[in-house]
Symmetry: C2
């Protein structure tokens, strides 16, 4: 017997909320198939789409660690389970690739064993998996990939996460330039301090963004969707970033544009799908002007999160 | 002919949102009476309740500057108008005393001249008055005193202010210890930087507080109503602050407790009026233990703001 789960990509930070927000896309995403086996223990039997870069050692694989943590919690460590991991999104892209694999693994295993656990209850195990890749226990990609929507992570340690109201029609475009940034490196370049003034204005933008979402105030979302702290420090890691951003913002209906997670993908939040399409092409063209190839992903806000498929 | 306006006290920062939030109380507050006069020009004819500490020179008085700015905007600088200012709240208390006078003045003058201007349109002139007292153009006391509610000030310069949804039943107690702190001094002691980690957790609390308000999630409001950046720096200015805070938090139904504005008043946000009453007495007793006399003000969230009375 086998179960296939799909877990979508996500946009960590959403520009305005460094380390405290994430947004769920409909595509791309990863698939994990879990099957019962007569051989005791958890094994990874197949990994596709990873270009030889993922280990099938359970301890070193986000999906493996996530699934094993769940099995340990259930007292089912000895259960014979095989995982197949199908990576269908780029690595080191800033789209939450490792989170998606961890999420798909726990969702598939939970369904296979008919645990009846809610997504909220699965969150912890997916975060344990994500920790293998990122080095820290945090939910800003895992939570949106699992539960969908735009998520505020008030506190990762206690998984105090909240889905925010999302106005109808919002659409996202992500443009992934084919250069690689490792999350660990992107964190290492950040200054350890911010000025009090930056803190005040950025926290005001966090507030304005959330109020804009709840009040469906599209203009307020647009004014608030900015990152004056992290983006300027990371922009240099992305060839042509400011040209790409300008290209996006010059399109009608684009509310804001910033770095997805720790990059290099750049996203634009848009008032509708048409704006997202225009912005995507403009952004791709701007990258091309810097001799960088890129892929475009268009998506509404995914309100469902990970699914059994 | 005369018009009397009342403008209420307010809690700047609301603990969690330094420089970006304010909350409107029902009492105390200031009254300003505006009367037409046959003598051209604006004059302050009477000030009560100020202990000789306010100037009746228009240029040096928050109510005077606010009213004059409005009259200039209307092209009515020559109009004969007399102002009476009745201070009914303590100075330098952290309750937005100067903002209340400025707000009451513009509301009274606007009504007297039947300008038809909305409160939103009056906000700018009240901020100009407040600027005389505080040295900067900011709306975190003026906006809640004028429009009521719990207000997010996304940007003072453009007066991008937003009333937040407020769950039913929330109640506030403010305890004013009879020591004085000047806003300018309270600002001067603040360190110019915060750590990135502090920024992340405090901005998460701003987000959590707003989501808690919109979702009427009382527990989330309680977890989020904290200030790990400013409060520790200012606590030493308030005798016995941590004892007062502990006393408040030990009462059932108290969601959070912090410094009102730049102090010395300490407020507690409560789930209901009973909790606020208990907390007020406990806080007063804690101040007494430090040989500090104090006054208690109990109030629901004032959703109306300044009024003609």
């Amino acid at each position: 017997m086998g179960i296939k789960a799909f877990a979508p990509a996500s946009i960590g930070n959403v520009g305005v909320g460094f380390d405290i927000m994430g947004l769920c896309l409909e595509r791309p995403g990863d698939e994990v198939i879990a099957r019962t086996s007569e051989t005791p223990g958890l094994r990874i039997t197949k990994i596709t789409g990873h270009g030889g870069r993922l280990s099938s050692d359970i301890d070193k694989n986000t999906a493996g660690v996530a699934a094993r943590s769940l099995l340990e919690h259930l007292g089912e460590s000895g259960r014979g389970i095989e995982l197949e991991i199908h990576k269908k999104m780029p690595f080191g892209s800033g789209l939450g690739s490792s989170a998606a694999s961890a999420v798909a693994a726990v969702v598939a295993v939970s369904e296979l064993l008919r645990t009846g656990l809610s997504k909220r209850e699965l969150l912890h195990f997916a975060c344990l998996g994500e920790q293998v890749a990122s080095g820290s226990y945090h939910a800003d990609n895992v939570a949106p990939s699992l539960i969908g929507g735009i998520v505020l992570i008030r506190d990762s340690a206690t998984l105090d996460v909240h889905r925010l109201h999302v106005p109808k029609g919002l659409y996202v475009v992500v443009v992934y330039p084919k250069v690689e940034i490792l999350t660990k490196e992107a964190r290492a370049i950040l200054k350890p301090d911010v000025t009090l003034k930056q803190y005040v204005s950025q926290s005001a933008n966090v507030g304005g963004f959330i109020v804009g979402l709840y009040n469906s105030d599209i203009a307020l979302i647009g004014r608030s969707l900015r990152d004056d702290i992290i983006e300027p420090q990371r922009a240099a890691l992305i060839p042509g970033f400011y040209d790409v951003k300008s290209a996006a913002l010059s399109c009608e209906g684009v509310l804001g544009c910033s770095i997805s997670g720790s990059g290099p993908s750049v996203f634009a939040l848009c008032a509708n799908s048409l704006a997202a399409e225009s912005a995507g092409l403009a952004m791709q063209q701007a990258f091309a002007g810097h001799k960088v190839e890129s892929d475009i992903f268009l998506s509404p806000i995914n309100q469902e999160g990970a699914t059994i498929c």
